[in-house]
């Protein structure tokens, strides 16, 4: 457990795309196009991924052990079974929740500072 924590700390802060990919994979295994669509939808078109950009991040995440390729294939006929699917690893889950906690801290600090600066004006 300690080694996982150490590994997670080394990865933080996560890049926005990495974080978003992890969030997308929390509920389901997805292929590249599904990830692009899911992220675009959730972040309200804030992040539009170009294919090379996405796969460079996926390469990093695979090498870092945040995600892995899924052996499972979707129900035949429902989708193209040649596509590669990705799923989140335990390390990936911890990294995502640590990043969320970190961002909460960032947000709390930012809010407090903003409130103070309004007060002094």
């Amino acid at each position: 457990m300690a080694s996982t924590r150490h590994a997670v700390e080394r990865l933080l802060p996560l890049r926005p795309v990495v974080f978003q990919v992890l969030l997308s994979l929390l509920d389901a295994e997805m292929h590249g196009y599904a990830l692009v669509q899911d992220i675009a939808r959730r972040t309200a078109a804030g992040i539009e991924l170009e294919p090379g950009n996405l796969y460079r991040h996926l390469k990093f995440m695979l090498d870092a052990g945040l995600i892995e390729e899924s052996e499972r294939r979707p129900v035949a006929g429902r989708d193209d079974e040649r596509r590669r699917y990705y799923r989140i690893t335990t390390l990936g889950r911890s990294a995502a929740s640590e990043e969320a906690r970190r961002l909460e801290g960032v947000l709390a600090d930012a809010r407090a500072r903003l409130a103070r600066s309004q007060g002094t004006r």
Binding site: G32, Y33, V36, P51, G52, R56, K59, D80, R82, R83
Partner: protein, 894 residues
């Protein structure tokens, strides 16, 4: 996801070369699939999608490469380095150098963006109109079949000829007819007019197109008496029916008859002749009865062979060549002619690929313009090569340092070339954006082009622009790279060295000579086209186009079946319109000048026997009401025009123009003479002689004309001409309302001023002349900049010489004169080569000229003077600067 052509994917796979091999081995397939999905989902036109992909791939590919290699050492390539690593190093160096000289980079990028932008825009049009195959199954097998008259002119096809071909031709798998006309649509929103095509059952089979929804026409559905059915294009389905999924089986009312929608065409379907809004069976055409000679089949009367108004399409059997099919058609049609003497004697037939027929009018203008923008691009390249050479001199020291540190000549050349390529690609990317904007502007400016709706960027345009960028990068980079890499180290490291200057100076002058020569070719071309346009619009039309409102309408035949009924409605409409305030005179005609309408009919003197086919005088025959000549201000030279007395049952009264009178009865009066015409029973008596007018457009010019009286040959179709006291379009609404008081359901269209019709008669020429002038002016500016660059560089390098001369007493004027004399030699050489070039290339635009010779001396002299003046002004600016410099200060600086 719709299956996308793999063309886009293969372009993308090429782009993926930016990534290191290891990355590609791992992700190439996934990347391509993701690309395919995104490409399919991207909204058209996909320009921004492609830009994003292009920039993203280059950026991430290079980043991945650099990340994969760590930081390679600059300058020297190590033996183990792969080509790509060296390239990555060169690229980083190139970016660094470019960033350090922003003004130079901006000038080069802007010049290249202009050159590549105009080229890319023109190619976008050429690609969509001329190159991209029609979206049919094996489109090269789709041809059009024409009859050919004894003089060799092509004509449309008669129904009997078509039926004979259909029965006998073995080299065609299917044949179909096509005719188009407007149809009145009622029952969907407001009454409207639809552009309808009347086609035979096999039409979609010939094109090899299957509907997206429902079905195409079945055999027999094109026969008289069959149930009314219609196939709608995708756009009409989405626009007029809101993509209603339950459209099939719905009935729409066209020309007061019901038609059931049986099919929706796919979105990709394209018919380049006309913007067709509904496809209907041939027998539903109001003209069908005319085609069959007012008889029902079987047994068409002989007169039906004279009515050649069908467009015939055919699909050649697999494996049969166009030549073989053409030979069979000729044989069959000659046999047909032999079997039906009289009406078809001497007639033959020919075929032409559908695509080439559809674009035949715009092919040469588009090719001329493509050639013109290519010249502009070459001039831009010469300009940039010049700039790069000038900078090469300044960079000689930098190069010498690197050579001294061990960089080989090849490495130095590669480095310089990489810089050119990066600049060219940056220019190309900007050019692509500029090109897209220019294409939009062009489409807004241009008269409708065939296939105009499909014009837009696609992978081929992207690939073309990329290749053009790379080739231009090589073109303007290779000579400076070779020159720049040949570094005499010691000399260059010494201060103030000028050893390579002389050679560079000559090369740069040669580039300016080439720029001037190419510019003159463009200027002369533009000058000729502009003169030709001026000649054209100055032509005396024979009528006064200003102050005339025109509109067209067609009475529904099923409402007004008989000729007297039709004439009665026309007459009442005319009376009402003539009483509208602001209308001076109103008249009807079966066809008016510049409308594209009109009948060509062979005529002969009534006392002579009917001449052989091809020997008769062919006239433009039009029926008009009495006030037509007054409304159009066509002079009546003798006799009278139509009158109340010329009715259906009285002798046919006709008017002839001067050309026809001179041809028929030279030196005699035409009044009272009698004429006969093919297809018209009885003879006409000439009651009036009128002035000549241009009818079928500027190029057709004047010709023999025959006018009949509308009342004696009434028809359902009419064009109204109304001379107004004020601005014609201001009366449009009142005229329409006057017509509606007679029949509130009567649609009218092409409501416009006669002046605008005449103006659009020169649309194609105006567009060609305008674009050519724009290209030529761009070339002129670039060439002037080239001269400016060379002269200002040379006077800067010679500041010392100038100072010495001035210190020794030379006046400012003599310095200015010296520089201008040197420039004049360069300009004279450029102009001479340019004149030769224009004479050699004039043949290309000869076909586009109207009453101007392609070697028109006036045009060549005027454009030559303009170019010479521009070049000398461009030279005088830096020369004057040099001459006004303080000689003492310059010498002190040395």
């Amino acid at each position: 996801m719709p299956p996308r052509p793999s063309r886009a994917a293969s372009v993308y796979r090429l782009l993926l070369r930016c990534y290191p091999a290891s990355f590609r081995a791992r992700f190439e397939r996934d990347l391509t699939e993701l690309f395919d999905d995104l490409h399919g989902a991207a909204p058209r036109p996909r320009l921004f999608f492609w830009l994003r992909i292009l920039l993203g791939t280059v950026r991430h590919g290079l980043a991945e490469r650099i990340a994969a290699r760590g930081q390679p050492r600059p300058f020297a390539s190590r033996p183990g380095d792969s080509v790509m690593t060296t390239l990555a190093t060169d690229l980083r160096l190139a970016f660094r150098t470019i960033r350090s000289q922003p003004a130079f980079a901006a000038t080069v990028i802007a010049t290249m963006a202009l050159g590549i932008g105009v080229t890319s825009a023109m190619f976008t049009v050429v690609n969509a109109v001329l190159l991209r195959p029609l979206p049919y199954e094996r489109p090269e097998q789709v041809v059009m079949l024409f009859e050919r008259d004894p003089r060799g002119a092509t004509a449309q096809v008669s129904l009997p000829a078509y039926e004979d071909w259909r029965a006998r031709l073995a080299t065609f798998s299917s044949l179909a007819t096509f005719g188009s006309q407007t149809a009145n649509l009622t029952g969907v929103g407001e009454p409207d007019r639809l552009r309808a095509a009347f086609v035979s059952a096999d039409f979609f089979k010939v094109l090899g197109v299957s509907p997206l929804l429902g079905r195409a026409f079945a055999p027999g559905e094109d026969q008289p008496g069959a149930r009314g059915v219609t196939v709608l294009p995708y756009g009409v389905w989405t626009r007029r029916f809101g993509s209603d999924p339950a459209i099939l089986g719905r009935t729409i009312t066209l020309n007061n008859a019901p038609f059931e929608v049986i099919g929706i065409l796919p979105r990709s379907f394209e018919f380049p002749f006309d913007e067709i809004e509904a496809y209907l069976p041939a027998a539903a055409s109001p003209e069908y009865a005319t085609l069959t000679g007012r008889a029902t089949r079987p047994g068409l009367p002989a007169s039906a062979r004279e009515r050649r108004s069908l467009f015939v399409f055919g699909r050649i059997v697999d494996g049969v060549s166009v030549d073989a099919a053409s030979a069979e058609l000729r044989r069959v049609s000659e046999q047909f002619a032999a079997e039906s003497p009289g009406t078809s004697t001497g007639w033959s037939a020919e075929i032409a690929p559908f695509h080439s027929v559809a674009v035949r009018l715009v092919r040469t203008p588009l090719q001329v313009l493509m050639g013109a923008v290519t010249l502009v691009l070459l001039i831009a390249c010469a300009n940039v090569a010049n700039l790069t050479l000038a900078r090469g001199t300044a960079r000689a020291r930098d190069m010498a340092v690197r050579a001294a540190l061990g960089a080989g000549r090849r490495r130095l050349a590669a480095q310089l070339l990489t810089e050119s390529l990066v600049l060219a690609l940056a220019g190309g990317t900007l050019g692509l954006l500029l090109g897209a904007a220019l294409t939009e502007g062009l489409l807004a400016l241009a008269p409708p082009l065939p296939r105009g709706a499909t014009i837009g960027p696609d992978p081929l345009v992207l690939a073309f622009t990329a290749v053009v960028s790379i080739v231009t990068g090589l073109l303007f980079g290779v000579v400076p790279a070779l020159r720049g890499s040949r570094v005499p180290i010691r000399e260059s490291l010494q201060e103030g060295s000028r050893s390579t200057d002389a050679r560079r100076g000559r090369l740069r002058q040669a580039l300016v000579v080439a720029e001037l020569a190419l510019s003159l070719v463009l200027l002369v071309g533009a000058g000729l086209l502009a003169r030709s346009l001026t000649q054209m619009v100055r032509t005396d039309l024979g009528f006064t186009a200003e102050g005339v409102l025109t509109l067209e309408y067609r009475l529904p035949r099923n409402k007004y079946a008989e000729a007297p009924q039709q004439w009665d409605v026309h007459r009442r409409i005319l009376e009402r319109v003539a009483n509208v305030p602001g209308i001076e005179r109103a008249a009807l005609a079966s066809a008016i000048p510049f409308s594209g309408n009109g009948n060509r009919v062979p005529v002969w003197r009534a006392e002579d026997p009917e001449p052989d086919k091809g020997a008769a005088t062919v006239v433009m025959a039009v029926s008009v009401t009495d006030d037509y000549f007054a409304a159009m201000e066509i002079p009546v030279l003798a006799g009278r025009t139509c009158s109340q007395g010329d009715a259906v049952n009285s002798p046919l009264a006709v008017m002839v123009n001067r050309q026809l009178a001179d041809r028929m009865w030279p030196g005699q009066s035409a009044i009272g003479r009698r004429l006969r015409a093919t297809g018209v029973p009885g003879e006409g008596v000439v009651v009036g002689l009128v002035g000549d007018t241009i009818h079928a457009g500027y190029r057709a010019g004047l010709g023999p004309q025959l006018y009949a009286c509308f009342a004696q040959s009434p028809q359902v179709f009419a064009t109204m001409v109304a001379r107004t006291t004020g601005e014609p379009m201001a009366s449009a609404r009142a005229v329409q309302q006057a017509v509606w008081t007679i029949d509130p359901d009567q649609p009218m269209w092409k409501i416009r001023s006669l002046a605008s019709m005449v103006a659009s008669g020169a649309d194609r020429e105006r567009l060609l002349a305008t674009l050519m002038t724009a290209a030529a002016l761009l070339a002129l500016v670039l060439a002037a900049l080239g001269v400016y660059g060379v002269v200002s560089y040379s006077v800067t390098r010679r500041a010392r010489e100038v100072s010495v001369r001035m210190a020794l007493g030379a006046s400012r004027w003599s310095i200015l004169g010296m520089v201008l004399r040197e420039t004049a030699a360069v300009v004279a050489l450029g102009l001479s080569l340019g004149v030769l070039g224009s004479l050699a290339s004039s043949r290309v635009i000869a076909g586009q000229l109207h009453e101007v010779k392609p070697d028109d001396a006036g045009t060549i002299i005027v454009t030559g003077v303009v170019l010479a003046v521009a070049a000398l002004v461009a030279a005088a600016l830096p020369a004057a600067r040099a001459a006004s410099a303080d000689p003492v200060a310059s010498l002190r600086l040395e």
